[in-house]
Each structure stands twice: as C-alpha cells, then as structure tokens.
Amino acid sequence: MQVDSGGSGKKGERKKMDTRVDFTPMVDMIMLLLTFFMLATTLSKPQTMEIALPSKEKGDEKNQTLAKASEAVTLYLGADNKVYYFMGEPDLTTPNFLKSTTYAADGLRALILNKNRKAVTQVNELKDKKLRLQITQEQYDKELSKIKVQDGTPTVIIKPLDNSNYDNLVSALDEMLITSVGKYAITEVDENDKKMLTNSGVDFAVKK
C-alpha cells in the first residue's frame, strides 16, 4: 500500500489514514529477549567429568591390574591444597619419604608430564593431525585411548585424605586429563598409607 506519509497533500483532499505501525520498539524488545535466550541456553549446560570407580566386589580384585612399581605414582590429596606423592614402591620406614607439591602448573602437572612425556608427545601429534583434518573424530578417539594406556605410561593412584575437599579430587582428575594419563584410580587410604603419612609428618585427620 502506497501511502504518503508527509503532509504534502493538496488542499481540500481528504487525508488518507496512515495504517503503518511502527515496529521498531517491538523489534528492539524481541532482539533483547532473543539475545537473552541465546546466551542463557548455551551457558546453562554444565560440563561433566566421567569417572568409573572399581567395583567393591571381591571377585574383581584379581582383575585390577597390578601397576608396575616403576610406573606407579601414588598421590595423597591432603589439606590446604597440598599433594603428597611418591614414585614406585612404598617405603614404610624412611622418615619424610613423601614429597609434597601443589596443584599449580609447575607442581603436580610438571611432575606427571615428566613421567608421561612419550604419550603427551604422541597426543599432541594426534591433535595436530586432527586439526589438519587428516583423521576423523572416531579415528582420533580410538588412537587416543590406545596411546593413553600403552606400555610405559604411568599408573597414577589417587588417594584423597579425609581432610581434603572435593575441589582437590576434581583438580587431581583434571590433571590426569591434561597430562593424558589413561591409567588412574581413586582408592581409599589404608593402614600402610597411614604409616607412611605419619612417618612423613602429614596430618590426615579431619579437623574438628
């Protein structure tokens, strides 16, 4: 419909009614709502981390692959964001056997990266390949899981102490993800661990 919006009509001519409605404010509002919904939907989806714990059944204990001592790293997650660790075989007698580190990039991560250098290099190469679209996602996933559990990669045993918190556990698991460690387990602290912790002067009781 062609309607003259100006008032330039000739004298005497009947003024035509302007039927146009200004949509601008409506469009403004809708734009605002749209932006809100778009942002709200993408931001509200939480991330997750998938973990599988060993089952408590007795029969499964045999299936638990005994880690080679040379490849084992045992981490104790302690209070105040500290991590105590030892490599290889446990030693129940030596005082201060456990070394301590933190969750910072130059602490735990550097430690495990050092142990897992071979796998990390391979994972980086693989990621590079995927970026250049030389392999598909499926191939990538398959290769990745193969690299992560190959011989020579460390087995990390995570033992959270009672005075640690949830954040510590997630941070430790996160480091496993960053450093491409495929073999890790969360287990409870046993009597031998307690002995070692006491020898090294680590407090593992819950603060009241």
Binding site: M26, Q47, T48, E50, N124, D162, N165, S171, D174, I178
Partner: protein, 209 residues
C-alpha cells in the same frame, strides 16, 4: 516545461519481515531452552578442562552441599512419582494425589521419609525454607539415599546417568560416603559436574612437544 519534482524519499523501512524472523527465532529458543531449576543449596562447582556435556535426559543428580547434606533430583516428573511410590511403600506411607503432584513439580528433594507427611503439608514457601536444613539420611543404620538410588534405577532402567554435583569446599568424607553407598549398589560410573576452565598451554607441555 514542468519543474522537475524531487521525490521525497521515504525513510520508513519495513520492519515486518525482520520482526517475523525474530519472533520465529525467539520462539525456537524459548521452546528449546531448559531452565536451571533452583537448588536448595547453592554450590560452586570446581573447575575442570573437561568439555563433555551432561546428557539432557535420564539423569539423576546428586547434590552435595558444603556441609555434607545430600539432595536428589530425578529429571522426569513421572519417574519422580514412580520413585516416590516405591520409597513410600517401603516406609509404609500412604500417598495422596496432591502430595504426588506437588512432589513431581518440586525442585531437588531431600528429607527423611519419616517426616515426608509433615514436610509436604507445609505451604510451598515454607517448604523451600525448610529444605536446606534437611537432607537425605545416608548413615549406615538408615541409608535412605541407597533406597532412592535403587528406586530411581528401577524406574529409569540401566541407561540412567548419575551426576554428582558438589561444592568445591565439600569435605572428601561426604563424597566418600556418597560414592561408597553408590558402590555398594554396584553403581560405579558417575559424572562429576564441573564448570569449564580454559586450558592453558604450559611451558612443560610445549617442551614435551
């Protein structure tokens, strides 16, 4: 010779197609978006670099507050009712339709079954006020948490995903007791809900390259 009339330009732009499209988009986003349900206790989830998203359906979420209280949420209202019925019959509670309905539309729940009747009799605002003080009992003498998990697993089948959402400050002992209860029921796979953290390339990682 007539004067050349300069036609006045009409500056009015027709917004109708634009608003049409926008309304369409808006409707799409409104319908597809799912809103976060309010939770009885606010938890600040720890950060991680994991980018896996939580599945949308068939999720049972376990909420653990910084003080160790446990709350549960089952996503489908019908499944909630079915799980509640199982628990109620185990604790000899007669449910009314009103209670079932109100339970199905409520947010995360967490109360001892013994006080279910009293709790549901409260008006809604009062319930929201009371809920953060309660929690599902999970001590060895009366482990109702296990009961709920069993009921939910029966209702939802083997594809149900268990998501654990806990505060960064939650002590490990609380997590241990929850995971221990789940392990007793042979539930060994969980999703830990985290917030995204940007992964920074460390000097060590590039050195290893």
């Amino acid at each position: 010779m007539p004067k050349i009339k300069v036609k006045r330009k009409d500056t009015w732009i027709d917004m109708t197609p634009m608003s049409d499209v926008m309304v369409l988009l808006l409707t799409f986003f409104m319908l597809t978006s799912t809103f976060l349900k309010p939770e009885p206790v606010t938890v600040a989830t720890p950060l991680s670099v994991s980018e896996i998203k939580i599945p949308e359906k068939n999720v049972m979420s376990v909420l653990i507050s910084p003080t160790g209280q446990v709350f549960l949420d089952i996503d489908n209202p019908n499944d909630r009712i079915a799980a509640l019925e199982k628990m109620a019959s185990a604790y000899n509670i007669q449910l009314t339709d009103k209670e079932k309905y109100e339970f199905s539309i409520a947010t995360s729940f967490g109360f001892p079954m013994q006080s279910f009747k009293q709790f549901m009799a409260l008006p809604e605002e009062k319930r929201n006020e009371e809920l953060p003080k309660l929690g599902i009992p999970k001590d060895s003498t009366d482990n109702q948490f296990k009961g709920w998990v069993l009921a939910a697993r029966e209702v939802k089948g083997k594809d149900m995903v268990i998501a654990i959402k806990a505060d960064s400050e939650t002590p490990y002992t609380s997590i241990k007791s929850v995971m221990g209860s789940l392990q007793d029921l042979k539930e060994n796979r969980y999703n830990l809900i985290t917030s995204l953290r940007e992964v920074e390339t460390t000097p060590a990682a590039t050195a290893a390259k």
